[in-house]
C-alpha cells in the first residue's frame, strides 16, 4: 500500500491512525474519514463545474467562429471566477407571488441531484466514492430527483412561462428516461452486474461500444434529452417562453441551475465513457497508476461532453410533437428490440471466444441499423407521396 498505487487507502489509513491516535473510537474515525472523502469529491466536482463554465464558453465560441473569453488571465481562464463573483454580488429577487420555500429549495435540489451522481462514478479502479451494487438504478434515481427539482422550480415561480418550461422539460425527461434505462440494461446484462466498477472491469477485453454501438447512440441521444440541451431544449426555448423554468431566478440561484446543467452534461459524458468506452481503461495504460487512470477517465468524459456540446451547437430545436413521437415511436421500440436481441445473442454465443462474440454482435447491430434506416426511408417516401396527393406539384 503506497501513495502512488493506492492513494485513497493510503490517505485513509494515515488519517485513521492519526484520529485513533487522538483518542477517537474506530467507528467515529471511519465516519469522519468518509465525510472527508465525500467533501473532497463534492468540492472537487464543483471546482470542475467552474472549469466547465470556461470550457463551455470557449467551445461554443469556436463553434460560432468567435474567440470566446480571452481577456482575464491566460486564455481567459480566470473568467469563470469573475462570473461567479458577479453572480454572488447580484441582487436575489424573489417574486412576491412565488411559493418561497419551494422556490428556494429547487435550485439546491437541482444541483444536488447532479452531485449525487458523483458518489458512484469510478474514477479509477481504486478511486471511487462507493461501488454500489445497484449503481445503474441509482443513476436513474438521482435523475428522478432532478426532474422533481425542475417541476418544483417551475411551479413555485408562479409564472406561466416557468410552468410551461417545467412541464415541457419534465415531459421530455420522463419520456426519454425509458429508452435510456432500457439501453442501460444492455451493459448491465453484458457485464452481469449493475456496479459501475464491475461494468468497467468487464470491458477489459472489448469496449461495449463495439458490442452495442446502437445502444451507445441511443444512450447519448436520450442523455442529451435528459439534460434538456439542444436539440431538445424546449424547456428554455427563448423565442417562445423566454428562459423556461428558471425565468424568475436571479443571481446565485440561477448560478446553481447553470452549474448543475454543465456538471450534468459532463457527468453524462462520463457515464457514456464508463458504460461504453471502457471507463478508466485505455489499452493497459491505466495500470501505470490510479492518477493516470483518473486522467484517462476525465479525458474520455471530456470527449463525451464535447460531443454533447457539438450536438447542442449544431442542431436546431425540434418541435414538441416531433420530440415525443421520436421517443415513443422510434427510440423506445428500437431500444427494446436491441435489448431482446442482445440478451438472446449474449445467451446463445456464451461459449464463443470474445472476438467472435464482439464481431457477431457488431454485425447484428449494423444489420438492425440498416433495417431501421430502410423502414424510415419507406415511411418517408409514403409521407411524401401522401403530401403530393394532397397538394400536387406545381400548385403550391
Amino acid at each position: 500500500m503506497n501513495l502512488w498505487n493506492d492513494p485513497i487507502n493510503f490517505i485513509a489509513g494515515w488519517l485513521r491512525a492519526l484520529l485513533t491516535g487522538w483518542g477517537l473510537s474506530l467507528d467515529l474515525a471511519k465516519i469522519f474519514i468518509m465525510l472527508v472523502g465525500v467533501g473532497v469529491l463534492i468540492v472537487g466536482s464543483l471546482v470542475l463545474a467552474i472549469f466547465l463554465v470556461w470550457v463551455e464558453r470557449k467551445v461554443v465560441a469556436r463553434f460560432q467562429d468567435r474567440v470566446g473569453p480571452n481577456r482575464i488571465g491566460p486564455y481567459g481562464l480566470i473568467q469563470p471566477f469573475a462570473d461567479i463573483i458577479k453572480l454572488i454580488i447580484k441582487e436575489d429577487i424573489t417574486p412576491t407571488t412565488a411559493d418561497k420555500v419551494i422556490y428556494n429549495l429547487a435550485p439546491v435540489l437541482a444541483l444536488a441531484s447532479v452531485l449525487f451522481l458523483w458518489a458512484v462514478l469510478p474514477l479509477a479502479s481504486n478511486i471511487y466514492g462507493v461501488d454500489l451494487n445497484v449503481a445503474a438504478l441509482y443513476l436513474v434515481a438521482a435523475g428522478a430527483l432532478g426532474t422533481l427539482a425542475i417541476i418544483m422550480g417551475g411551479w413555485a415561480s408562479n409564472n406561466k412561462y416557468a410552468l410551461l418550461g417545467a412541464f415541457r422539460m419534465v415531459a421530455t425527461m420522463i419520456s426519454y428516461e425509458i429508452p435510456m434505462v432500457v439501453v442501460l440494461l444492455i451493459p448491465t446484462l453484458l457485464a452481469g452486474t449493475m456496479s459501475f466498477r464491475g461494468i468497467v472491469e468487464s470491458q477489459a477485453g472489448a469496449w461495449y461500444v463495439l458490442m452495442a454501438p446502437l445502444a451507445m447512440l441511443i444512450f447519448l441521444i436520450s442523455a442529451v434529452a435528459e439534460l434538456g440541451r439542444a436539440p431538445f431544449d424546449l424547456n428554455e426555448a427563448e423565442s417562445e417562453i423566454i428562459a423556461g423554468f428558471h425565468i424568475e431566478y436571479t443571481g446565485m440561484k440561477f448560478g446553481l441551475f447553470y452549474a448543475g446543467e454543465l456538471l450534468h452534461a459532463f457527468t453524462f459524458g462520463g457515464f457514456v465513457a464508463l458504460l461504453f468506452f471502457g471507463g478508466y481503461q485505455f489499452f493497459g495504460l491505466e495500470k501505470l497508476g490510479p492518477l493516470v487512470a483518473v486522467t484517462i477517465f476525465l479525458a474520455k468524459a471530456m470527449f463525451g461532453y464535447w460531443v454533447i456540446m457539438w450536438i447542442k451547437y449544431t442542431m436546431p430545436r425540434i418541435r414538441i410533437d416531433h420530440l415525443l413521437a421520436f421517443n415513443w415511436k422510434f427510440l423506445t421500440p428500437l431500444a427494446l428490440i436491441l435489448l431482446v436481441v442482445t440478451a438472446l445473442l449474449h445467451k446463445l454465443l456464451a461459449g464463443l471466444p470474445l472476438w467472435g462474440i464482439t464481431l457477431i454482435m457488431f454485425l447484428t447491430n449494423v444489420l438492425i441499423a440498416w433495417v431501421t434506416v430502410e423502414i424510415l426511408r419507406a415511411y418517408g417516401r409514403k409521407q411524401r407521396q401522401a403530401e403530393e396527393v394532397l397538394a400536387p406539384a406545381g400548385q403550391h
Partner: protein
C-alpha cells in the same frame, strides 16, 4: 442507542410528519411534495435495511414516476388548486377512534408474531442479492408466474389508461 436506531427514528419521524402534512396542507401541490418526502423516508428505511435495490426502486418508481404523475394530475384536474372547505367533518373523533383501534390491533398482531424480535441474519457482502432476486423472479419453481402476471397487470393498466383517455379525446 446505536447510530442506525437514531437514523431509523429520524426517518420514521420524517415519514409520519410528512404523511400528516399530506392530509392537512391546503395546497394540492404541497401535498404532493410532502408525499415525496414521505416516500423518500421509506427509501431511507430500505437503505437502512441494506435493501439497496428496493431503496433505489422506491425513488425511481415512486418519486420519479408516481409523484410526477400526481403533480400532472393535480395541474389537470382543477383550476383552483387550493382547498377552501373545512378539513374535518363532525364525525372525526369517531374516525380517529377507529384508526387507533386498527393501529392497536396491528401492533397486537405484530407483537404476537414469533419472529418479530429476532434479528435478521446478516447477508455476507459477496452474495449478489439482486442477481438472486432475478433468478427467483424467472425460475419456474419460484416466481415465474407472478413475474409474467405483473407484465399482464401493467398491460391492463396501460390499456385502461388509453381507453379512458381516448374517450375524453372524442368529446
Amino acid at each position: 442507542m446505536t447510530a442506525s436506531q437514531i437514523v431509523f427514528l429520524l426517518s420514521a419521524a420524517l415519514i409520519i410528519g410528512s404523511a400528516l402534512m399530506v392530509v392537512t396542507t391546503r395546497k394540492l401541490v404541497h401535498a404532493a411534495l410532502w408525499l415525496v418526502a414521505a416516500l423518500f423516508g421509506v427509501a431511507i428505511l430500505y437503505g437502512l435495511l441494506e435493501a439497496g435495490f428496493l431503496a433505489v426502486v422506491q425513488v425511481v418508481v415512486y418519486i420519479g414516476a408516481i409523484a410526477i404523475l400526481f403533480i400532472f394530475a393535480v395541474m389537470l384536474t382543477r383550476k383552483e388548486m387550493r382547498d377552501t372547505g373545512p378539513q374535518t367533518r363532525r364525525s372525526w373523533p369517531l374516525a380517529a377512534l377507529l384508526g387507533l383501534l386498527v393501529l392497536a390491533g396491528l401492533v397486537f398482531l405484530v407483537l404476537d408474531m414469533p419472529d418479530v424480535a429476532r434479528t435478521a441474519v446478516e447477508i455476507p457482502a459477496e452474495v449478489d442479492t439482486v442477481g438472486a432476486l432475478g433468478q427467483a423472479l424467472v425460475s419456474p419453481e419460484a416466481y415465474a408466474l407472478p413475474f409474467e402476471v405483473a407484465s399482464v397487470l401493467l398491460l391492463a393498466a396501460l390499456i385502461g389508461a388509453v381507453y379512458i383517455a381516448s374517450g375524453q379525446k372524442k368529446e
